[in-house]
């Protein structure tokens, strides 16, 4: 099936098998390997991307369902000299260790901050319930999101 998807600001046209998962299309066809596969069952959040601004698990969405949508992946979040506040928060607060869950965490956290610029710790923890991290114990991820919220509020 032919699809047109805007990915990280670039229009992409492709002809994909209907069963192709969005995450596989991003990784295999567009070489956007920053979106990771952790469970293929929507339960770990490693594959979280933004579809029309919403945090979506790309392992249980078909590429054809993204036809006509705006998709943003971790690669579209910030450049080295202009990181997204959430990326800066994760770096500053040691919000990652092995890094495998991190792109999904950053996409989930940035979707939260887009809706709630000043979330409480409980709200952050609740918003990240769908994303599993095995390394950090979550605390430094919470710190990272709080740090990012501060940066964003201060317009930095």
């Amino acid at each position: 099936m032919k699809i047109r998807v805007n990915v990280n600001g670039e229009a992409q046209e492709d002809d994909v098998a209907p069963r192709t998962l969005l995450v596989h299309w991003l990784r295999e066809n567009l070489a956007l390997t920053g979106t990771h596969i952790g469970c293929e069952t929507t339960l770990c959040g490693a594959c979280t991307v933004h579809v029309d601004g919403m945090a979506v698990k790309s392992c249980t969405m078909l590429a054809v369902q993204a036809d006509g949508c705006d998709v943003r992946t971790i690669e579209g979040m910030g450049e080295l000299d202009a990181l997204h506040p959430v990326q800066r928060g994760f770096w500053e607060e040691h919000g990652l260790q092995c890094g495998y869950c991190t792109p999904g965490m950053i996409m989930a956290a940035s979707a939260l901050l887009a809706q709630n610029a000043d979330p409480s710790e409980a709200q952050i923890r609740h918003a990240l319930e769908g994303n599993i991290c095995r390394c950090t114990g979550y605390q430094q991820i919470v710190n990272a999101v709080q740090h990012a919220a501060r940066l964003a509020r201060e317009g930095k």
Binding site: G34, C39, T41, C44, T73, T102, E129, R134, Y138
Partner: protein, 782 residues
């Protein structure tokens, strides 16, 4: 050598992170090669049985299928799954890469399909018809030892793989003399390590140069190199293993797996690169599990609550085959059985049991969380028996600060410690008295509230190589190579291949300080066996203790040579050169050379230094003379909802001692991650098989993982008792959190349920289990 600590001890953010937070790191599944094929495994649906027929006719006809292999293709052409530790007298059968005639656990690979892409490979794998004549499985490890139990290996006539006896001469006498004795039967349930990146392999045999390059998500790339070379029957010089970005390991990625050995064989046969990245179900079912012990513990104590002796009988699940280090793990339980306490005698007997389940191996802590759990449960039980405060019982039992190095009755030698200082700091930080008052207030309002405590030590940085159970082909040293570039920049090559720990940052901090250079002038390379001369890996909390010490040793060698070069350039003698933070000066003189000056001179060699070779590099291997013993004290408070059994952790305080710390930010991360992992085991995690050996926890729907909203903010504090066993004074940190947090939470839950008369519970502490205990207690009172 004086060192100006500019970077060491600072909370420096990680140098690994820019690539990781931008999604631009390369994990194994991100590797894509020209002509690459994809593998999918056909796995056994049954826990035990005979393979009657494998029919791949239909699968072979599917589009894109390149090849399908079964044991018939492998027999005699390739080796077996690596098992490095086979205990003396152990009944051990080689484990084939693909099931050969018999299947012994659910998920055992039966056939492998290779196809043009992942979808085609999985389609074809589903189309392979496997007929298995199934039979009863041995699942419960205690039942597996009973006469008449189904046998995993009928040829052995028993499921008992090995018995490890560690008797102590004084145990029986101390039991006879004891004021009291008690017996606990304790389960340390089987759990899954669950790195977020599952196992992944890309094998690329190049027929021209006759060389295999193997990308694999492993903690031990050099072990994989040897294992794969042996399995394929090719010289190890023909194998290059690359552990690129590795998405967590937790012990599960220490072993070299059958799949890692099989893909290279396929690539060599087809002369095409082949990739396999496991599914989460494969990871939960067929990557090594952890823990899995049942222990009966007899405790002898005096009238003051001091433990005199322990007598333990452990049944340790091996699973259906012996994983690479699987048989080694239960030996650590005995080694640490006495914990931080002055117990005079420990006798232990461990039965290693085969069952029709996935093999067990190292999981964060590996045998020591089990030991800590047992002895902490014993401390709480003694307090209950004698009506003593649980902290007071521990105070009376802790090893005194002047007793180090302490020789435990298990044979372990504890390097250093000050357990009292750590305990009292934790008591103050937690406000133990205040917490008791608050708990009692809550109880008077009808709530179920409890306080948990655990005091613990553990054994890290395993060594020396001669003093540990003899694994074939491996030592417990670690390597480092430092190469100084002509500009004075330094490349560090470490054998301690990391998977999230942050060696690229911590080792750079150290090297920058040794040479007085900018941290951005240090590059740390790891995980490529063609680049890193040799190495062992990152596991057992050894990254800094052993790997970092090797870096330190190599740096000292470089400084020594640099000093000799500087002496010649400064027209003085070596003895008169003062080195401080990478600046070389003549004692009492004004002339100075920087490290970069010396590096440049070493490379240009415009001035030949007599007796020296040009260049500036060094290789070192650190062989530990003994093991380190970090320790700590954990406290927590919990409440349990009477109506639902839902457990809430209200507060968790961790005061730990890991010796000297290079980067407190990274150290906090290790501690926090470990604590939550330990709490995960106590709260919700368990691998469950049904009575037929079917895995009931094969997805994240069924295997309950710790998630963000389940925990309060963990409060961290520390004491610092450096280890005398390495020049860094480091004790190891990676596993610490998982040692203490698990018994601490169970302690709190039993305290909360004590008013109901509940004195025993097994992990995990799921709401249903707690609800039933509350209901039963209510019924028995009514």
């Amino acid at each position: 050598m004086p060192v100006k600590p500019i970077h060491v001890g600072e909370r420096i953010k990680r140098r690994e992170d820019p690539r990781l937070i931008r999604g631009m790191a390369t994990y194994t599944d991100d590797v894509k090669l020209h002509g690459m094929l994809h593998a999918a495994f056909v796995r056994s649906d049954y826990a035990a049985g005979r393979i009657v027929k494998i029919d791949a006719t239909r699968a072979r006809a599917l589009p894109g299928v390149a090849a399908i292999y079964t044991a018939d293709d492998l027999r005699g052409n390739v080796g077996q799954t690596p098992a490095w530790v086979v205990l003396p007298g152990m009944k051990h059968a080689p484990h084939p890469l693909l099931a050969d005639g018999e299947v012994r656990y659910v998920g055992q690979p039966v056939a492998v399909v290779v196809a043009k892409d992942k979808y085609a490979a999985r389609d074809a794998a589903l189309a392979v018809e496997v007929e298995i004549d199934s039979r009863d499985a041995a699942v419960d490890p205690e039942a597996a030892l009973q006469p008449g139990a189904p046998l995993v290996y009928p040829e052995f006539g028993t499921n008992l793989a090995a018995t490890i006896s560690n008797p102590h001469a004084d145990t029986e006498r101390l039991f006879a003399e004891a004021h009291g004795t008690l017996t606990l039967k304790l389960l340390n349930q089987r759990v899954a390590p669950v790195p977020m990146e599952g196992r992944a392999v890309v094998a690329h045999w190049e027929e021209g140069p006759q060389k295999l390059t193997l990308w694999t998500s492993t903690q031990t790339p050099h072990a994989a190199k040897q294992n794969v070379a042996i399995c394929l029957g090719i010289p190890e010089l023909r194998v290059r293993v690359i552990a690129p970005e590795v998405g967590g390991g937790f012990g599960q990625k220490i072993p070299t797996y059958g799949e890692e050995c099989l893909l290279p064989w396929i690539s060599k046969k087809l002369r095409r690169p082949v990739k396999w990245a496991e599914t989460r179900t494969e990871n939960l079912a067929n990557a090594a599990h952890g823990r899995g012990q049942v222990t009966t513990l007899d405790v002898a104590y005096d009238r003051d609550g001091r433990v005199l002796a322990l007598r333990g009988k452990t049944i340790a699940e091996m699973g259906a085959f012996v994983s690479m280090l699987g048989a080694l793990i239960p030996t650590f339980t005995h080694l640490l059985a006495a914990g931080p306490y002055t117990i005079r005698a420990v006798s232990w007997e461990t039965s290693c049991v085969y069952t029709n389940t996935m093999a067990t191996d190292a999981y964060r802590g590996a045998g020591r969380p089990e030991a800590a759990y047992y002895v902490e449960r014993a401390m709480d039980a003694i307090a209950a028996k004698l009506g003593l405060d649980r902290v007071e019982v521990r105070r009376r039992n802790l090893i005194a600060p002047d007793a180090f190095p302490y020789h435990a009755p298990t044979g372990a030698v504890y390097d250093s410690g000050n357990y009292q200082a750590c305990l009292e700091k934790a008591v103050a930080r937690f406000d133990y008295t205040g917490a008791i008052a608050a708990r009692d207030r809550a109880r008077s309002e009808g709530k179920l509230a409890g306080i948990g405590v655990a005091t613990f030590t553990e054994v890290c940085g395993l060594g020396p190589s001669t003093g540990t159970a003899a694994p074939a082909r491996a030592g417990f040293w670690e390597s480092a190579e430092l190469r100084v570039e002509p500009t004075g920049a330094v490349t560090v090559m470490t054998g301690a291949s990391p998977h999230g720990q942050g060696q690229e940052t911590a080792f750079a901090q150290m090297v920058a300080d040794y040479f007085g250079i900018d941290i951005d002038s240090v590059n740390v390379i790891h995980g490529d066996t063609d680049v890193v001369t040799h190495g062992v890996g990152t596991f057992g909390s050894r990254g800094l203790v052993v790997g970092g010490t090797a870096v330190h040793m190599a740096a000292q060698k470089i400084l020594a040579k640099a000093k000799r070069i500087a002496a010649h350039l400064l027209d003085t003698t070596e003895e008169r050169v003062n080195v401080d933070g990478g600046v070389f000066s003549v004692v009492g003189g004004a002339r100075k050379l920087t490290f970069a000056d010396v590096a440049s001179a070493a490379h240009t060699w415009g001035v030949a230094v007599p007796g020296e070779e040009p260049g500036l590099e060094a290789v070192a291997r650190f062989e530990p003379s003994g093991t380190t013993f970090p320790f700590g004290v954990h406290f927590c408070t919990v409440t349990i909802d009477r109506e639902t059994g839902q457990l809430a952790i209200e507060r968790f305080v961790s005061v730990d001692d890991v010796g000297n710390i290079i980067n407190p930010l990274l150290a906090d991360g290790q501690r926090l991650g470990g604590i939550i992992q330990g709490l995960g085991q106590a709260l919700c995690e368990e691998v469950r098989y049904d009575e037929s050996g079917q895995l009931m926890t094969a997805t994240f729907m069924d295997y309950a993982m710790p998630r963000a909203a389940m925990f309060p903010r963990i409060e961290l504090d520390s004491t610092c008792t450096p280890s005398p066993l390495n020049p860094l004074g480091a004790k190891g940190i990676g596993e610490l959190g998982t040692i203490g947090s698990t018994p601490c939470l169970v302690s709190a839950v039993l305290d909360a349920l004590a008013p109901l008369g509940v004195s025993h519970v097994d992990m995990p502490l799921k709401p249903e289990k707690l609800w039933r205990l509350i209901q039963q207690a209510g019924a028995s009172r009514a």
